[in-house]
């Protein structure tokens, strides 16, 4: 789908450069999504074996960030893009930073999960964390889909989902604080869980950023810090 006609330049070489950048961003996004899934496996299914692959995957994410950033710099220098081409390159450069940070949050969750591998208590809290992880991963997938299809409505849906994730985070936080008050010796464990919840919430925030860049790309209007327009309601 090419609503912005991004690959209809007279120069076929330029088309392939633009297409390549989009493809690489989606590939990087896919790796970041796997990273979240692996972090959830460490945290919820206590899969210690996933830690090695998480470290290896982080290298790939960092390498992808550098490579795409460089490709964007080449396009700016060589093509001097304008209008939707310029917005694509600018959006991608900003999205890269958010994708990389999402990868960092996932790694942090995995590291905290490592502390909790032998923790027996709190199956219900773990289930709530798993749900946060599920929503965060879903938001990332939605943001990447919105970018791939240049789908404004999908981007808006994901942005609205962030509010629900924030609500779930507050509720998990309240539960964890109550547990700390009840069993003070469990505070270190519950703090680790709180940091995990916080990281999932941050992932949601960054997915919202990704969607804001998709909206900028499609609409040509920066929606950051300005709130959404009245018509920007989620579907359903």
């Amino acid at each position: 789908m090419d609503r912005l006609h991004l690959t209809q330049h007279i120069s076929r070489q330029f088309n392939s450069e633009i297409e390549d950048v989009r493809r690489q961003v989606l590939a990087m996004g896919g790796i970041v999504e796997e990273q979240i899934a692996a972090a959830v496996r460490v945290l919820v299914a206590r899969e210690a074996g996933a830690l090695g692959e998480i470290r290896e995957r982080e290298q790939r994410i960092n390498a992808a960030e550098l490579a795409i950033d460089e490709q964007c710099a080449f396009i700016l220098a060589r093509r001097q893009p304008a209008a939707s081409d310029l917005r694509l390159v600018l959006s991608v450069m900003k999205m890269l930073a958010d994708l990389e940070r999402i990868g960092d949050e996932a790694k942090r969750i995995a590291r905290l999960g490592e502390h909790l591998l032998n923790e027996e208590s709190g199956a219900d809290v773990t289930a709530a964390l798993a749900e946060l992880g599920h929503v965060a991963r879903d938001m990332l997938r939605g943001a990447l889909d919105a970018f791939a299809r240049l789908d404004e409505q999908l981007a808006l849906d994901v942005m609205h989902r962030d509010r629900r994730l924030d609500g779930s985070f507050r509720s998990v936080s309240a539960t964890l604080v109550a547990r700390m008050q009840q069993v003070p010796e469990q505070i270190p464990v519950e703090l680790d869980r709180l940091w995990c919840a916080r990281s999932f919430e941050r992932i949601g925030d960054r997915c919202k950023n990704l969607c804001e860049f998709v909206l900028y790309l499609v609409r040509g209007k920066d929606v950051r810090h300005s709130g959404l327009a009245k018509g920007d309601a989620p579907r359903g």
Binding site: H5, I10, Q80, A82, A83, D85, L86
Partner: protein, 273 residues
């Protein structure tokens, strides 16, 4: 036209200096159409050229950019078989009024072409040419105004010691700035530039663009360019033309990041054709 700058001949006319003194000197066209014989070159163009700003005219070859410039100071009058409809106003003055004084119009609306073409005279006399036609005879006044014009055109430092040398010995970049000096010596309000930097090398082009920035505070500049990066770099406003029509006009930053019209987008991103 062989002259790079159309020299002025003084005259009391419907387009007079007095009229322009108070109001902001901006050009305005309404439903401006132009035919070369049976061929329509401009189609109902409505354009406001903001005063003392740089407006770039962009569009594919044959879209009417140069024809539009030539309408604005009536250079098309010189071409057999042209017909103009609609209105052009310079300030309040009707450029096509039957009693409009064309030479005075061309003093107020100067034009510089793609190839710098100084007269085969000295540097000094090139700039003094239009002034002499205006009736200025005093050597001192001529010298002062030549110096001021050369300074304004960012050429004085390079030619101050060889004002009596032939202008054809200057480099292309210097010649183009000399032509600008000649144009502004007669104190126009609007300076139209038709691909003025396309014969210059990159360094001379950048120097020339810097000059445009300096001139913009004093003159209304209308720049035709094929180089979209140049339009983006130097202009405050950009007008995109296609097939004789004005498709989009707007703030240059907005037009190059988020054009309103699909045709503009296709052109500036190289999707045209």
């Amino acid at each position: 036209m062989s002259n790079s700058v159309t020299p002025a001949i003084d005259g009391g006319a419907s387009v007079s200096r007095e009229q322009a003194a108070g109001a902001a000197p901006a050009l305005r066209t309404r439903a401006l159409s132009l035919w070369y014989g049976a061929r329509r070159a401009l189609d109902a163009v409505d354009l406001d050229v903001p005063a003392r700003r740089i407006t770039a005219l962009i569009g594919p070859s044959g879209c009417g950019k140069s024809s539009l410039l030539r309408c604005l100071n009536r250079l098309n009058d010189e071409i057999e078989g042209t017909r103009v409809e609609g209105e052009v106003r310079l300030g309040e003055a009707d450029v096509y009024a039957p009693d409009a004084f064309v030479h005075e119009l061309r003093r107020r609306v100067g034009i510089v072409f793609q190839r710098p073409n100084p007269f085969p005279l000295s540097v000094h006399d090139n700039v003094a040419y239009g002034l002499r036609l205006l009736g200025i005879r005093s050597r001192r006044e001529l010298d002062e105004r030549v110096e001021a014009a050369l300074k304004a055109a960012a050429l004085w430092d390079e030619v101050a010691s060889r004002l009596d040398d032939g202008a054809l010995g200057l480099s292309l970049g210097q010649q183009q700035r000399l032509v600008i000096a000649r144009a502004i010596a007669v104190e126009p309000e609007v300076l139209m530039l038709d691909e003025p930097a396309s014969a210059l090398d990159p360094a001379a082009t950048l120097r020339f663009e810097e000059l445009l920035h300096e001139l913009a505070g004093r003159y209304t500049l209308l720049l035709v360019t094929h180089n979209m990066q140049q339009a983006a770099r130097v202009s405050d406003f950009t007008a995109f033309m296609h097939a004789g029509r004005l498709i989009e006009f707007g703030d240059t930053d907005a037009l190059f990041t988020n054009p309103r019209e699909r045709q503009t987008e296709d052109f500036i991103t190289g999707r045209y054709g």
